[in-house]
Symmetry: C2
Subunit: 295 residues, 2 copies
Amino acid sequence: MAHQQADLEPVLIMVPGVGGGQAEPRFHQADPARAQLLVTDLVATRGEGVFETLGVFDGVAMNVGPHLQRLARSAAMIDLPAPDLDLLASALDAAIAAHTAVPELTARIMMTRGVEGADAPTAWIHARTAEDYSAARRGMRVVMLDRGIPTTVAGTSPWLLAGAKTLSYAGNLAALREARRRDAEDVLYVSSDGWCLEGPTSTLLVRRGNTFTTTPTEAGVLPGTTVATVLTALEQDGRTTSRELMRPQDVLDSDGAWLLSSGRLAVPITRLDDRELPVDAELTARMNAAASGRG
Amino acid sequence: MAHQQADLEPVLIMVPGVGGGQAEPRFHQADPARAQLLVTDLVATRGEGVFETLGVFDGVAMNVGPHLQRLARSAAMIDLPAPDLDLLASALDAAIAAHTAVPELTARIMMTRGVEGADAPTAWIHARTAEDYSAARRGMRVVMLDRGIPTTVAGTSPWLLAGAKTLSYAGNLAALREARRRDAEDVLYVSSDGWCLEGPTSTLLVRRGNTFTTTPTEAGVLPGTTVATVLTALEQDGRTTSRELMRPQDVLDSDGAWLLSSGRLAVPITRLDDRELPVDAELTARMNAAASGRG
């Protein structure tokens, strides 16, 4: 996929109607170069919000339904009001339509708890030309980092928000900085009970022979939208798929591993800690054709 | 302490000079009722920021130096630029001076990673009349909740940011909501290796006989500013103090326990899970006189 201009104007759509009630107009375009948020918005004072990042390929947003459903799931996990998903879908369409046509667009759907005391969520869609992911899609070096928590907390301790896509993301970015300090580009989290989980912004997919395995969401990981699309494509190709927990040694000894996300798509892991992993460029291209709706 | 009006105008001071460089003016008053933050500020897209909350009593901010030092420590833990602490202290003074005189003011010092791509932090001071904490200072019901991580992660896994006061605070608020579901008002976190840690927004202090004990910061808790003031006062009163890890049973069997923070001050725990704890109103008043600089 060709390099894209990064300086095209981003598009911002504010969605005051997201929580229902009487907001009028229910969404409107706004200037992303001007301040839009109060300092007392709970996203600014407490990281209280949820989000989704979508890949938009040749003007078509992938997996809109699953992303919106996951946003609603994350919102419920932090007791936000249920978002108006139809309204968000319309606002997303408006953002994509307002953006200059580009091969790859990244659209973020953001929803916060709103201004302190106001009891009405803040929401917006921000669409911009995607970064150039062509190098990443050839492969990345990844390190395994302890996530500190066991796979059981999603069941026992929901207040830890394992598997919720919240805007309290500082830990994920700290992990990515640690990866760079270790001469790597991304992270595979390992639970304190010794299972491979996910990346800070991605889902794990591992090939062993003809079988492709990802982490079950019960382990407290985010239910991946891109991995679901890719698994379906692999099944159509006659591959076997499964959702089960894997040990670090399983991934180190695998026939290939990927980190999947909506904008960057499937990125093969070229090196995991000190181990070189097999990379299959053709298979990666097949996954990414499916994940971008070009398959 | 008397009930205070909550509708006095809050004061906002933006501090564009916080990261050094050429920002001019280095801080200025702004309208908190108007939007001040871009949607691409990394605090809004990733919860990337650090903060401090100070209590200001009769116009005097308590523990300004320790709070600023802790802000710098948190900033370093997430690789933010070192904040200009003298500038922040001046901006804090300006915020307090601009606010109507009230007995208790809460001042927040906020610093984010700034707008995506801009490489300059965003910072502000927000001062407002404190909530009415008089009921809380008579006592609160507290439940113990699993924090999921062991006391060792601060040493082994710094990317988990244990002990950093970041704006990625959604988990702490989720824990407080869980407390309300359990008919309690606050939380005492317990580590996965079974030690009492701290509250989501407070420090633990436990009395056993004449000895007052708080959690050591090496366990991955925030170094409390208020507890330091209170421990000093207790030592002046001839009490013994210590910093050591305690088991839940130690606190349940104690002669009293408190959660300490800068605005709410020392709050006695009246009930921990199902156990009633002894409450000493006079001793609590002594702590709060010290913690508010009125001792």
